[in-house]
Symmetry: C2
Subunit: 291 residues, 2 copies
């Protein structure tokens, strides 16, 4: 029989950032404490929370923001997890070796131990999001990690547009799929496309929840940095895609929801998609195009 139902209270820290790293890290650490005090079990920070989004141009000076793992920022997160007895998911500009930098997320369990590391697999490259210049594509694959409060899968930002990443992470047993994010409106687009872009973003992640029968939680950056207006709207949804909590577009927030993890089995037996996958017919998903 199943283990007893358990629930996890998830908190997403949606914040703005300043140029210097230290105040951002202090703010995040403080918010982890605040979330814990409000009852959070798992706290997830936004993508690259320790600084402004570094990829608005191709600028070698930005590599100076990177840190090794473990390193000063990861140690601070581990200590905060331990101090508050919460699992913490943090996103770090990782310097792995000379010329090998990653966009990396770390899952810390509630005792501060590292539960696992994920390196962003899908790397974008668009005007004002020049990530291919900075980040070596991840080489650890799609994974999830056990924490005291549930099994956490982590993908990062651009990954959220790829059903393959969500599926593979879910197939490793993830119960909650986290997407630390930095997405916003760029000049001249908000009035015409803004609502549609935000809707598409949320729709994709709600679809991952539905297709895989998992909770999805996405903290996003907020505030203007250079040309980009980060759109906040961090949210948590259940395995049916129902949004349980959603942040504002224009202010800092801790977005929280209780996630009843027993719903995962309920969803997957009532909408039995994992039962019916045609794994005999999916081989061509490893092809680029079928022309």
């Amino acid at each position: 029989m199943n283990a007893a139902p358990k629930s996890a209270t998830v908190a997403l820290v949606q914040m703005s950032c300043v140029e210097e790293a230290a105040p951002n890290v202090e703010k995040a650490i403080s918010r982890i404490g605040e979330a814990a005090q409000r009852g959070a079990n798992i706290v997830c920070l936004q993508e690259l929370f320790a600084g402004p989004y570094p990829c608005q141009k191709e600028d070698h000076a930005q590599f100076a923001r990177a840190e090794p793992i473990p390193g000063p920022t990861s140690e601070r997160l581990a200590a905060a997890a331990r101090e508050h007895a919460v699992a913490v998911i943090g996103s770090i500009f990782e310097r792995r070796a000379a010329g090998v930098y990653h966009n990396t997320a770390i899952v810390f369990d509630a005792d501060g131990a590292t539960a696992g590391v994920y390196r962003k697999m899908h790397i974008p490259d668009d005007p004002l999001y020049y990530e291919k210049f900075y980040f070596t594509p991840g080489d650890l694959g799609f994974q999830s990690f056990p924490t005291r409060f549930g099994r956490a899968g982590v993908c990062v930002c651009w990954d959220q547009w790829f059903p393959e990443g969500a599926r593979l992470t879910a197939l490793t047993g993830a119960e909650i799929l986290f997407y630390p994010t930095a997405i916003g409106w760029i000049p001249g687009e908000k009035d015409i496309y803004g609502a549609s872009q935000h809707s598409a973003w949320e729709t994709m992640m709600r679809s991952h929840a539905i297709a895989n029968g998992v909770f999805v939680a996405a903290p996003n950056r907020v505030g203007r940095e250079g040309e980009v207006e980060f759109w906040g709207a961090s949210f948590i949804c259940d395995p049916y895609g129902n949004v349980l909590a959603r942040g504002a577009h224009d202010q800092e927030e801790i977005v929280m929801a209780e996630c009843d993890l027993s719903l995962i089995d309920t969803a997957r037996t009532h909408w039995p998609f994992l039962r019916d996958r045609r794994i005999d017919a999916y081989g061509n998903l490893t092809r680029r195009f079928l022309d």
Copy 2:
């Protein structure tokens, strides 16, 4: 350079059905004519439009509804396509051989020629949707077919919950992805879960449009049959997931929208997901679970 932009006007026939086949087929044929008169280029019928949804129980008598392909109903559809110079997508309970029945969709080009045949790959089995009893899983894979008005991919109903099917169909070059559907509310669920179920259904298909940069068009059955209240709400959305047209929950309709197929390249170059797929890391999608 690209070929000149082209657009296709898509029409979805959302209708109710009676017990006997003939009036349903007559109605569908008549609606194809009406849609053509209103400017449609491609007309798609709902799943198994020639009869009531046959799978509410496991009843051997229902196999008598099946027909060979080509057969009387497919010939009627071909003739309607030719007469009105529209492409037609029809869904048929196919008798392929003794004991081998499929849930099949046929794409007819505007001259009545068969452009292609798709056999439903993912077969559901849930209370009131006992399809595994009736339908042999499809063995033709995920495909799309050229028509005079654009390249049509077809999946059927339950397929709509599987991102893999949408992706593979899109990778074959589909410009519009059609989902003939028969989905509705079952007793006792509508008040509590009805809105969420409908939202999840539309969300999944909007996500296929977004993830793949294609138009999606889903005609659904309407009206009560036995215990099921089919929820209509047939819709067409663009490659950004914007809903261009949506039918009512409770009445017959022809849902139409003009689809500017040049948007596909625009969407895919502005949201370049197909560029960035990690095909080196997707091999495990052919696994059942990764435990």
